[in-house]
């Protein structure tokens, strides 16, 4: 599904290397987790994959189902099936959440040559999906993310994911700022979307989210590289011992991470 090879990324405006050769391969239907200390480059990886400005790819490749991602505009990547649930979802005053969702879904359908949903059809689908995420009708009417609580924002990200039906979902710190109940709700939403044809890359700082979204593979990222890959037990290990031992093992000082 997702193939990343030797991905090296710098900031565009500054001479600063952030990703220093990332290799990652996520198979179809798999759930991979990336864990790692703050500042290790996890969000950068998610932004570069989804096409945010401000980064320069100096080497390497990233492909989604053999299509070169790095050559596409962000909207083309989305239409190709990539979705990023933001660590900090953006507020857009004056644009109704429903308008936003419908514009997004219909843009992607149009890009893929599918027919666009009418307002009525769309409303029916969105209501159903919103209900399962405990998103009330009010949240659909309000402007995008404006005045939403942390939990509401993250649930809104999952709702977008449910509506857009992407093939490859990247979740960046979807658990940050959530209490246990809110996190469970989000995890349930994600689990409901797990399917044979859909893959996930779950970025998290803590292991607790992975109790609810069970990964097939766990990667540890530090200093712009994947330093270790293993099964779910790797997450338990990090939870118990922290990152220090792992970092030391790879000659990375805590500040560098």
């Amino acid at each position: 599904m997702l193939e990343i090879k030797n991905l090296r990324v710098e900031l565009e405006d500054e001479d600063k290397k952030i990703l220093k050769g990332v290799d990652l391969s996520v198979g179809t239907g798999q759930v991979h987790a990336i864990m790692g200390p703050n500042g290790s480059g996890k969000s950068t990886l998610s932004y570069v994959l989804s096409g945010r400005d401000g980064y320069k790819v100096t080497d390497g490749t990233a492909a989604l189902n053999d299509e070169d991602l790095l050559d596409m505009e962000p909207e083309e990547r989305a239409a190709a099936g990539l979705f990023l649930a933001f660590q900090y979802p953006v507020e857009i005053p004056g644009v109704g959440n429903m308008t936003f969702l419908r514009t997004a879904v219909n843009s992607q359908r149009k890009a893929r040559g599918e027919s666009e949903y009418s307002a009525g059809e769309f409303l029916k689908i969105v209501r159903e999906k919103a209900k399962s995420l405990k998103i009330d009708a009010n949240m659909l009417k309000r402007p995008v993310n404006v005045g939403f609580s942390g939990g509401e924002k993250k649930r809104n990200e999952i709702l977008q994911m449910a509506m857009l039906e992407p093939k490859m979902c990247i979740l960046d710190e979807t658990d940050s700022g959530l209490d246990v109940d809110a996190m469970k709700l989000v995890a349930e939403g994600v689990n409901a979307l797990r399917s044979e044809g859909r893959s996930f890359l779950v970025i998290t700082h803590y292991q607790r989210l992975l109790d609810h979204i069970k990964p097939d593979v766990v990667h540890i990222m530090a200093d712009g590289r994947i330093i270790k890959t293993g099964g779910p037990e790797l997450a338990m290990e990090v939870e118990k011992n922290g990152y220090s031992d792992l970092l030391k093992e790879h000659g990375i000082s805590e500040e560098m991470a």
Binding site: S50, G51, R52, D53, E73, P74, E75, R77, A78, A79, F83, L84, F86, P89, V90, I92, P93, G94, V95, T99, F100, T103, A104, V105, S107, Q108, A111, P143, Q160, L164
Partner: protein
């Protein structure tokens, strides 16, 4: 202080080239206004109030030629609304295109017809609110209008008007230069929605005097057409009485020159006056210069005023805002708010703003702000990452930017009408 000789000469030259009706009931007001504009002179480049808008095109004896729309490109204006439509073509009333002016709760007559008479209900308003609005700043073009207006609509509302009144301006001659003067009087408790659309000529000067009696409600919505070359100068002079509501919203798209002055005197306690505008300019399709000049005076207690102005500018378009809130002595518990914001879609465009507060009462809440910014890159990326193409995402963010101004339109159907006009403009001006 006497005006500079060049200014006086400019006024004289301009007046000499104009036809000045003697007037019936307006005769005294016209003579007085003529006297005032003769002494004030026309705006000059050194006038503080005209620092950012060059009056040369308005001072010229003849207007610069302005191509009208081809009739088939004429946008539909409020056609879906049940309203009384009154049509002016290049400033000349067109009876065939207009509806019978019969509306329950409304007396409606043309200035030109009414001016045959010596006595009229509009007499205590015509030229009177305009003259009152000449302090502390000269507005010579408004005085010139009072003196020279060839026609206009006089509307007296005694109850709840059964339908909106729509003044629809058409522009067909490349050189038309109309001067129109409207008087709207809402009697106590009366209600009216007034719609205006289109450019009235190649260059036009419109004054609207609005007297809102206690507990009356006026909703004013204006769309200033899509034509590129026309020059517009408008003045609204409103007097707002006790517990009355005055709301005015203007959408402007295109136009080589637009200066909309709005002068509001809040004279009764517990009144409300809101004035808002959304302007869109794209220098690629022709020069765009848009100036909102607003002056709100609070002379009563517990009144609320809001000024909300948004401009979206690209390809060298220029936006101006001069807005003032004056709170007079004794106008306690005033709640005054003013915001002017520009969204610059490139580095060639420009926004200049002069927000002012002048307060002589101690128990008031007044705030003002002005910002100039670009499209929020993070929000743009967020939308694109959901599959929304760049141009559409930009359009959504432009609408997001203008939302507070559009919110000022109370009627949902009218709000949607404006929204679809904005969307239409944005889709025609993508690059």
């Amino acid at each position: 202080m006497a005006a500079a000789p060049q200014k006086i000469e400019a006024a004289q030259t301009r007046l000499d080239a104009m036809e000045l009706p003697k007037g019936g009931f307006t005769a005294a007001a016209r003579a007085d206004a003529l006297d005032r504009v003769t002494r004030m002179g026309l705006p000059g480049p050194r006038d503080e109030y005209w620092r950012w808008t060059n009056p040369a095109g308005l001072n010229a004896v003849a207007p610069a030629a302005a191509a009208p729309f081809h009739p088939k490109d004429e946008p539909a204006n409020f056609d879906v609304f049940d309203r009384i439509r009154l049509v002016f073509v290049d400033g000349v009333f067109d009876e065939d295109l207009s509806d019978d002016p019969v509306v329950n709760g409304v007396e409606l007559v043309r200035l030109q017809e009414a001016d045959d008479r010596d006595i009229h209900w509009a007499q205590p308003v015509y030229g009177v609110l305009e003259a009152a609005g000449q302090k502390p700043v000269d507005r010579p073009y408004a005085a010139l209008n009072t003196a020279a207006a060839s026609d206009g609509i006089l509307i007296r509302v005694t109850g709840k008007a059964s339908k909106p009144i729509h003044i629809d301006y058409r522009h067909q001659s490349e050189e038309s230069d109309p001067v129109l003067h409207h008087v709207i009087k809402l009697e106590e408790g009366a209600e009216l929605t007034l719609l205006e659309s289109g450019p009235a000529g190649a260059r036009f000067n419109i004054v609207t005097e609005i007297d809102v009696a206690p507990r009356a409600v006026l909703h004013h919505l204006r769309v200033q057409g899509r034509e590129q070359q026309r020059q517009a100068l408008t003045h609204i002079f409103a007097r707002v009485g006790e517990e009355a509501t005055f709301k005015s919203f203007t959408m402007t798209a295109n136009g080589a020159l637009t200066r909309n002055e709005c002068i509001i005197d809040i004279v009764g306690d517990d009144a409300r006056a809101h004035v808002a505008g959304a302007a869109l300019g794209d220098g690629k399709t022709g020069p765009f210069h848009h100036d909102d000049t607003v002056f709100v005076t609070h002379a009563a207690e517990r009144c609320e005023s809001r000024q909300v102005f948004k401009k979206v500018l690209k390809n060298g378009a220029k936006g101006i805002f001069q807005g003032k809130i004056l709170v007079k002595e004794g106008a306690q518990k005033t709640d005054g708010y003013q915001i002017s914001q520009a969204l610059l879609l490139d580095e060639d465009s420009q926004f200049l703003a002069k927000p002012e507060l002048e307060i002589y009462a101690d128990d008031v809440v007044c705030s003002h702000g002005s910002t100039t910014g670009a499209i929020d890159e993070t929000a743009l990326f967020y939308l694109r990452s959901r599959g929304v193409p760049h141009a559409e995402a930009t359009a959504l963010l432009v609408l997001s930017f203008m939302a507070d101004a559009i919110e000022e339109i109370d009627d949902e159907a009218l709000r949607d009408d404006i929204l679809s006009r904005l969307e239409g403009w944005l889709s025609r001006h993508r690059s």
